[in-house]
Symmetry: C2
Subunit: 282 residues, 2 copies
């Protein structure tokens, strides 16, 4: 029987939601490309309800306890006196999240004598010392594609918001102003602009696909070139490196968790040199 | 020789821009559908610079004065003591803007003995008493399609921002919080949702076209049904009225300036009755 130590972000400040903005959420049965989404035999939570915070427990408690396992959930993850560090020595499995990560440093891995598996409930492994984990024989897992479409929607939202000056304009509304000139002097249409993505994997290619009908000029760079028919269908121009891509346009989206793996790829900061027309998104 | 009376919004509070966020803006030579954009013989302003506020004068002063006309520009448009009302009696042409409209009421039209033409520098005619204008023989003109693509981009931005809870999440950032649960408890993916547009003219159909790759279920209603091949291409479902459309989904975008012309169409407010899943955008 395993001890599962789960680190989750805190509940909402006003408490765990009693009701939600939507009555239901769409059923997504397959990813773009045809791969099916997870199909568990049963679930004991309502899809769309908040599971990611402490009280939600990722919907795991009954499932684990019915199978005889132990579940410890905490949001207290930093420092030697944290619940996480106190519970770690006899934990078999650790679960945490990309934006509320329980850091598994070399020191913590050394203390965690029973640890076999560390799961990211989402995508990302920046919070693991991968070398130390490998030496300790730990399995590190993340849930590939679990939020790639979410991120691609977020990227398109951010591109539109930045180009169109949404947030500063919203700021004028909050101040009670009707300052049209202050809103529009930095507001542009996306139409006709050049947009590039560093990496065109699941997220990057979903961004490209969503941006196509905006009548922009699409660019990308990646270690692995997209199939020719996909490039043609998207009307996207390939570049050998991010540095090659920048002079040809104003690139906007960088969506490669492994960006450092791209040999010859400049840091995003270097790419800002072309000036006023270029904007970088992480 | 004509007197042109132009009502424009005020300059930015920090003064007319000395520099801009972008070095240049894209050249758009044709609208979707093939119609060409305006192709003047010459322009005497830099594309992308702010022309809509008082100091920008819509780029018209030299053009008009070189031809012997008079141009009066003001932002002071409301009330009997406004510059607009003072300059109106001998004006031949009035130009104003949808979001800074110089109202042409029956009373003002009666005072404007020389007036022949009222132009909206943009789209919209809510600020004219059209019946009184018609009786006075006035020509009312707007610039069809001049910002339809801008609006369609704005609508997609707003849909994504509302569904994904962008502005409230931004609010947490501003407050210095890292309140993940507070951000995500109202945040959803657009993927798989039903999105409907009331009217599918230039704006509505541009919205539908941009939303298609988000893998949503598209719906629309309009007095004029789209061609069958366009419906098939967009995968969009037609409804006889907005009321018919609502029960089938959660519609989000209403983009018909002439919505009141749609017989049998409910007011947007009536359409909110289906509850938590439905959101209306103006």
């Amino acid at each position: 029987m395993a001890k599962v130590l789960c680190v989750l972000y805190d509940d909402p400040v006003d408490g765990y939601p009693a009701k939600y903005a939507r009555d239901e959420i769409p059923q997504i049965s397959s990813y773009p490309g045809g791969q099916t989404t997870p199909s568990p035999h049963a679930i004991d939570f309502t899809p769309g309800e908040l599971l990611g915070s402490v009280s939600g427990e990722l919907g795991l408690r009954r499932f684990l306890e019915n199978a005889g396992h132990t579940l410890v959930v905490t949001s207290d993850k930093d420092g030697p006196d944290s619940v996480f560090e106190r519970e770690l020595p006899d934990a078999d499995i650790v679960i945490s999240q990309p934006f509320w990560p329980a850091y598994l440093t070399r020191e913590r891995i050394a203390k965690a004598r029973n640890l076999k598996l560390a799961i990211t409930a989402g995508i990302g492994s920046d919070h693991y010392d991968l070398q130390a984990a490998s030496e300790a024989g730990l399995t590190i897992a993340e849930i590939t594609f679990s939020n790639s479409i979410s991120v691609s929607e977020h990227v398109v939202m951010m591109i539109l918001s930045l180009v169109r000056n949404y947030i500063p304009s919203y700021g004028w509304v909050v101040k009670g102003g009707w300052n049209i000139a202050d809103c529009v002097e930095r507001s542009y249409d996306l139409e006709g602009m050049a947009v590039g993505t560093v990496a065109a994997g699941r997220i990057g290619s979903a961004v490209l696909r969503r941006l196509k009908p905006f009548d922009v000029r699409l660019h990308y760079t990646d270690l692995h070139r997209l199939p020719e028919d996909v490039e043609r269908d998207l009307g996207v121009t390939f570049h050998q490196s991010a540095a090659d891509m920048v002079p040809s346009g104003r690139w906007k989206a960088g969506s490669s968790p492994g960006m450092q793996a791209m040999s010859g790829s400049p840091s995003p900061h270097r790419a800002t040199t072309p000036g006023a027309a270029c904007r970088i998104m992480g």
